[in-house]
């Protein structure tokens, strides 16, 4: 037995514990030398990435992992369960976290020169919160991590633009607390009627009391709570300000991950705490969700057109994209579900890349107003090319990730007989063209004479590497979507809808 064998059994809990510990140790590392913080975060994130990859691989090859914290067996003890769904989401969290981590070194040095240590400390705690929310199989434990991730996110956002960042953070804090209260109430209700907090256990106990109004109220509370957390229109009001005024690196992290994990939680509660029959047939919650999502898709895109601040535009675009994910989930058929889940991955890649680009442009020029982007194509060719690829993905041009999820979502809508959603999805991609093409025109066209003398002044390498990597993945998964679909999403969708059993 080697040392590695000793820890393999504990990988599920280590993915949470390592960033947690590292987060608390960051001030000490920073006290030795502030420059070390970044290396410390890199080391941690890289370790987390390896562990989550290993977890997902284990799940694909040998089935769901059950880990009992402290050896206490559920339902008494807290259980960590990794199946295809959270194995997949954890890997996304770790990867996006690493990318933003690499990127942050220069951007934080410029934007938050005095807050490097707290930034990295909170950064790791945010990862901890998201990781924990995803990985846990216990709904109260889930709530604890939800609060960790929320509090750290408030802190990160408050570090942003002087004044505005604090206001945005405060708005988010109020909305986020309302959401968390709803969720906590829901958890309390379920605990009151079942006497259990373990997800698997609860799923077994609930069906016999589905006609209980308390259960129904709990479901409603969860849906409202998570809708706020993911920024589902019309509960999105906190989101644009928060994304706009946060520091660049924090925007990318929060936009790439927070709402995705919220969407994950919504899926988990709908299909693993409750059962598909309950949310689809008995309460028709899934159908309600699709209509809300369709509305979000259209309104988010329309509002994005009206923005001139690039980060705010991307924020509204996020509201629309979250709609895609939830639409796919709400369609409640295998194809639509695959589209929604695939879009969690796709949107993380695209939106993170776009926010990183916005940050890089801000880093070099201090400009966020997209009408002042003239000549950027010549000044920052690599950065703007990344923007082009990611934006084309958002539009859903074939050969990029956006197309694959759009294809599945539209096909899923047809399968569900909901032609109106097909039109919503297609019209939304037209709207995406409208708001992204303005940026293209500003970057590359319009003022030929003014840009003749612009010198090339590219973002630093540490910013370029993660951006380019994300752009490459946008194309890679656009062409090779077969792999995530075949190995993860297809069996997963079947399992969630109760058609097949998780391997």
């Amino acid at each position: 037995m080697t040392g590695f064998d000793l820890i393999t059994d504990h990988l599920p809990v280590l993915t949470v514990v390592i960033p947690l510990m590292a987060g608390f140790l960051t001030p000490i590392v920073g006290w030795i030398d502030r420059k070390l913080c970044w290396y410390w975060v890199m080391l941690t994130m890289f370790a987390v990435l390896l562990m989550t990859s290993s977890n997902l691989y284990t799940v694909i090859t040998s089935g769901t992992i059950h880990y009992h914290l402290g050896g206490w067996t559920p339902p008494i003890g807290i259980e960590y369960v990794i199946d295809l769904l959270n194995g997949f989401v954890c890997l996304i969290i770790a990867f996006i976290g690493l990318m933003v981590g690499i990127y942050s070194i220069e951007s934080i040095k410029k934007e938050l020169p005095n807050k490097i240590i707290p930034f990295y400390s909170i950064f790791l705690l945010l990862i901890t919160g998201l990781m924990g929310m995803t990985i846990t199989g216990d709904i109260f434990n889930f709530y604890v991590f939800l609060e960790i991730s929320s509090l750290t996110a408030y802190a990160l956002i408050a570090m942003g633009d002087r004044g505005d960042g604090v206001v945005a953070s405060f708005n988010y804090l109020i909305m986020g607390t309302v959401a968390a209260s709803f969720i906590l109430l829901g958890i309390g209700y379920l605990y009151a009627v079942t006497g259990s907090l373990n997800i698997a256990d609860m799923q077994g106990l609930l069906p016999s009391i589905y006609d209980n109004k308390v259960v129904l109220a709990a479901l409603a509370f969860f849906m409202v709570g998570f809708s706020i957390k993911v920024g589902l229109f019309p509960l999105h009001a906190w989101l644009p300000d928060a994304y706009t005024h946060a520091p660049s690196a924090a925007s990318a992290l929060i936009a790439g991950l927070m709402t995705k994990v919220g969407a994950y939680a919504m899926i988990r509660f709908m299909f693993s705490v409750f059962t598909p029959e309950f949310v689809i047939d008995m309460t028709r919650m899934a159908e309600i969700l699709t209509w809300a999502a369709a509305l979000a898709i259209v309104v988010g895109s329309v509002l994005a057109i009206a923005q001139s601040d690039i980060k705010r535009m991307l924020a509204y675009s996020s509201i629309s994209q979250i709609g895609y994910i939830l639409l796919g989930v709400g369609l409640a058929n295998v194809i639509g579900m695959q589209g929604g889940l695939l879009h969690i991955l796709n949107h993380s890649l695209m939106k993170c890349a776009l926010f990183l680009v916005a940050g890089a442009i801000f880093y070099r020029t201090g400009i966020r107003n997209l009408h002042q982007f003239q000549g950027l194509g010549k000044k920052m060719p690599v950065t703007t090319t990344v923007f082009l690829i990611a934006a084309l993905s958002m539009i859903g041009v074939p050969g990029t990730v956006g197309f694959t999820s759009k294809w599945y979502l539209a096909l899923g809508s047809i399968n569900a007989g909901q032609w109106i959603f097909v039109i919503v999805i297609l019209v939304s991609s037209l709207l995406n063209i409208v708001y992204f093409w303005r940026v293209f025109d500003n970057i590359w066209f319009g003022h030929p004479h003014e840009v003749e003398h612009i010198k090339r002044d590219e973002a630093p390498l540490s910013m370029l590497i993660p951006m380019v990597l994300l752009a490459v993945l946008c194309i890679f998964f656009g062409l090779f979507a077969y792999y995530p679909l075949h190995y993860v999403l297809e069996p997963l969708s079947n399992a969630l809808l109760g058609i097949g059993v998780l391997p």
Partner: protein, 497 residues
């Protein structure tokens, strides 16, 4: 009739060549001669690769290559058949001429952003060949969108507000049509579980309710807005703001032909001849495109800007191609398919002449061209050849395709369609002869001396004019376009080779 299939990577290489070239063009952006060198190298390699597949196709085989399995059951795959190679040969062959012509045009006018221009041009050519070789609708859609995106910078090239707004118009039309095409593809996939082209149409579509089928056909045809059917044609005259080589190759050959190519793929290879006939769609579509044929010719007469007049002429001629295909008789389809390369050669000659006039004489409007033939006799002779071809008069090739189309209409005993073809020929004459008359016989306002465009421009336009005549005189030479078209027609009609 079993068709022998050969697996080969050649079609993928033919598509990739100009993609690779586009990277090299970017890399050598600071050295104009090397940069243009890559364009030439790529054009020659591309044409050689395409032509190397021709012998197999002439033997009646098809070449297939699956690149990747993009989504489960949705591969990106190439399949070269006679119809595909017809379009590919036309585009890749003409790229060689236009490469030379571009150099003369762009350098004489000292255009800005030439690297971007050549880069996008190369990508656009890749997309065109990709469309030609697509084995299924999804692959076709991929390249169809890529073609739209890569040609936008070419349309908006001058970056004036007129160019940008034309570019927006271009994008609006083509993107909306792209969405419509995607919708249609989704519907086909939903009902049949496949998007792969088949010589007899995709099996399973015939079970659709008639109304669904009609709606599907309409959304498909809206999706083919690159074919510039009226009323979806407005982007094409707007796109004339682009540099003339772009108008010549892309908006007379690659892009618009991609549109009609897609339309024919849909009509004959997705719906299939039988379904078109049973559903009666062929006749509706024939009347629909007849309107475009006539109206566009009338619009062309009102244009004073030579490039815009040519653009409306293109709108009209494109509908000939589709008309041929929807006649669903052997002669009709032959005429329609054959019109793709024939119109390509003739129209590119006309556009290159128009570009030569802009560069050398600085004239865009027909009313300013009095006696211009005294200054540029070779250019105007080439123009005359192209114009005769458009009208359908020998020796240029146009009369052959019109003859086939007339035969096709006559076989159906449809007097309306025969009338449309004849009236259109008259209208063509009515808007081309004035140009020739003005150029050759009107007295110039001031004395003109002989001054032709640079050789890099003059040689290509002369060559395409000569080829236009050759394909008119020897249309049935072995391995020529008619041979290829015959095989393509045999494929879809189920006849022997």
């Amino acid at each position: 009739m079993a068709i022998e299939t050969v697996h080969s990577i050649t079609p993928a290489l033919a598509v990739l060549v100009s993609m690779v070239a586009s990277v090299l063009i970017l890399a050598f952006g600071k050295y104009p001669n090397i940069r243009e060198g890559w364009t030439f190298v790529a054009a020659f390699i591309k044409f050689s690769l395409v032509i190397s597949m021709l012998p197999l196709i002439l033997e009646g085989k098809v070449i297939t290559y699956t690149v990747i399995e993009m989504l489960p059951n949705l591969p990106i795959a190439f399949k070269v058949d006679a119809f595909g190679i017809l379009f590919a040969i036309t585009s890749s062959f003409l790229w060689i001429f236009v490469s030379s012509y571009s150099i003369g045009y762009m350098r004489t006018l000292k255009e800005h952003a030439q690297t971007r221009y050549y880069f996008c041009f190369a990508i656009a050519l890749s997309s065109a060949i990709g469309i030609a070789f697509s084995a299924n609708l999804v692959t076709l859609f991929l390249f169809y969108e890529l073609l739209t995106i890569s040609t936008y910078p070419l349309v908006a090239h001058t970056e004036t507000s007129e160019a940008i707004s034309s570019g927006r118009k271009y994008l609006t039309y083509l993107m909306i049509s792209g969405i419509s095409l995607l919708f249609s593809i989704l519907v086909v996939y939903h009902y049949t579980g496949t998007t792969e082209f088949s010589f007899s149409g995709i099996a399973g579509l015939e079970t659709l309710p008639r109304t669904t089928l009609y709606i599907l056909f309409i959304t498909f045809m809206v999706g083919c807005a690159k074919a510039a059917f009226m009323p979806l044609h407005a982007w094409l005259p707007a796109a004339m703001v682009a540099p003339t080589p772009v108008s010549a190759l892309l908006h007379a050959v690659a892009v618009v032909k991609a549109g009609v190519f897609t339309a024919i793929r849909v009509i004959l290879y997705v719906f299939g001849i039988d379904l078109m006939e049973i559903s009666g769609l062929w006749l509706y579509m024939a009347y629909f495109v007849s309107i475009t044929i006539i109206l566009a010719s009338i619009f062309a007469m009102t244009q004073d800007n030579l490039k815009k007049r040519l653009a409306y002429s293109t709108v009209s001629q494109l509908s000939y191609v589709v008309l041929g295909a929807v006649l669903i008789t052997q002669h009709g389809i032959t005429g329609g398919m054959l019109h793709i390369p024939y119109h390509g050669f003739m129209k590119i000659t006309l556009f290159m002449c128009a570009g030569a006039l802009i560069v050398t004489a600085k004239k865009e409007n027909i009313s300013d061209m009095n006696g211009i033939a005294r200054q540029m006799p070779i250019t105007m002779l080439a123009f005359t050849v192209g114009a005769l071809g458009m009208i359908g008069m020998p020796p240029a090739g146009g009369y052959i395709t019109k003859w086939y189309l007339l035969l096709g209409a006559a076989e159906l005993d449809n007097m309306i369609l025969i009338g449309v073809l004849l009236i259109s020929a008259v209208l063509n004459a009515a808007y081309f002869f004035p140009v020739i008359y003005v150029a050759f016989f009107k007295k110039p306002d001031k004395e003109l001396t002989y001054k032709e465009a640079p050789l890099t421009m003059l040689v290509p336009l002369t060559l395409t004019a000569i080829i236009s005549i050759i394909i008119g005189i020897w249309p049935d030479a072995p391995g020529m376009f008619l041979d290829i078209v015959n095989i393509a027609v045999a494929n879809v009609t189920g006849g022997g080779i």
